[in-house]
Amino acid sequence: MSSDHSEPEHTGGEGEVGPGLRASLEAILLVADEPVPVVVLAQVLERPRNEVAAELADLAGEYVNEGRGFDLREVAGGWRFYTREDCAPLVERFVSDGQEVRLTQAALETLAVVAYRQPVSRVRVSAVRGVNCDSVMRTLVLRGLVEEAGTDKETSAILYRTTTYFLERLGLASLEDLPELAPFLPADIEDIEDENARA
């Protein structure tokens, strides 16, 4: 997609052709959960690498000049948003002041499936639960309850397992101490529904 021909799918009627390079970079980096290499950004945006690199450097400088609370830094071969250094004490206070986080039912179920089926891919967990679990899995990783455990040899999907922190939170010494499932498995599906209703 080159930016110089008109693109009918964009709505802006004032000669706009969608978000500019700068806004596009900001949007992508906002959701990136690890440093993004220039080459990846150039691919997604279909722009030359040097143009993207120059724009990133410009943006980073702009944030510093404007005294923003975040800046863009190139770390480990990629670009990422970081909090500004002198905001660190406030950020620390914010992070440590947070209240204990209670997991949602959806997160708890996903965690349970991972615990008893590990190592397991997101696709399999989603299949077991019948709903997409990508965002819940991400939360569990963020909370340190679940971590990546290599990739599946056949599908090369990322596998997940529970962490030692998970065991701590459940008060268990090791995974072997997880209770057997058998006594909790209902005889048939009707019973499951009933238990759901009672639970």
């Binding site: 349970a112 077991v128 019948g130 008060g171 499951i192």
Partner: protein, 287 residues
């Protein structure tokens, strides 16, 4: 008198409420129009008119509406919209109840039973309206979700220097409860089933019912509709029988004959169809 959309210049002006009521439902039933003596237009508008007392339910030939709906679906045998079918079934069953209540003499209230019937009728009205209100708002939910999905929230792991400061996660349960959650999550889920359970009738499985009817006919060779619906548990089962027969007819598995208008309708098993579309009738959207 025939009411039709064309009677209202822009389809909305003359009947703002009805038009509003027709709005969201029209999303699924957009294509389905009924052609009756008293009304021609979208199915949803028909409902709105009945709800607004602009049209008398007793004048609406529900069997004809059902006929048209089956025909409408048959034209689209490749892209069934199961939501649309279940919506139609729910509404049709409600209308049937409503009509039954209406057809009973209601001039004088003679005993408790009549009174109860009258109340039931109002209840049905209110329920229909209420259901439509939620249906309407459900459509705005869908629109809002679609709009919100175009914005992505920031949700990335903490910079390592802050990560260890995170507060503890509260699991809020012990190992045994955790195992119970796992057992429930890992147990095979019940197969999805079509939500045919109308409030007034015990649940009826359309597929099973269609097979049952087909089996009975195959054995008996010929039976009247009256015989087939004798002992029906409720209006809903009669509707189910009717739907099953129409589907069997479409496949060429049965033929109909009726000596005179309003006399018994006889069904004869011709048995040369396959039952694949009866099977299709019954797949679920209940997930």
């Amino acid at each position: 008198m025939t009411v039709s959309v064309d009677d209202f210049p822009d389809g909305t002006g003359a009947l703002p409420d009805a038009a509003v009521a027709a709005g969201p439902g029209a999303r699924e039933t957009a294509g389905f129009e009924v052609h009756l003596d008293v009304f021609e237009g979208p199915f949803d508008l028909l409902l709105a008119l009945i709800a607004k007392h602009k049209l008398d339910i007793t004048e609406v030939a529900l069997s004809q509406v059902t006929d048209e709906f089956i025909a409408y679906l048959s034209e689209r045998s490749d892209d069934w919209d199961l939501d649309q079918v279940s919506y139609f079934l729910v509404v049709a069953a409600t209308l049937l109840d409503l009509k039954a209540a209406r057809l009973l003499p209601s001039g004088e209230v003679e005993d408790e039973e009549d009174l109860a019937l009258l109340e039931a009728r109002d209840l049905l009205f209110a329920r229909l309206l209420q259901y439509r209100a939620y249906k309407e708002v459900a459509a705005t939910f869908a629109a809002r979700m679609a709009a919100a999905a175009r914005r992505f929230p920031r949700r990335v792991p903490l910079e390592p220097r802050f990560a260890e400061l995170l507060p503890e996660v509260l699991l809020g349960l012990g190992p045994a409860e955790f195992a119970r959650v796992a057992a429930l999550a890992l147990a095979p889920r019940p197969l999805p089933k079509v939500s045919t359970e109308h409030i007034h009738a015990p649940e009826i499985n359309l597929k099973e019912h269609a097979r049952l009817i087909a089996a009975r006919l195959a054995q008996a060779g010929r039976a009247s509709f009256r015989q087939l619906t004798a002992g029906a548990a409720g209006g809903y089962e009669i509707v189910a029988t009717f739907l099953a027969l129409l589907e069997l007819y479409r496949e060429g598995s049965v033929s109909f004959d009726q000596i005179a208008p309003l006399s018994d309708l006889f069904v004869t098993w011709t048995g040369n169809g396959d039952t694949s579309s009866v099977n299709r009738l019954t797949e679920s959207d209940d997930e």
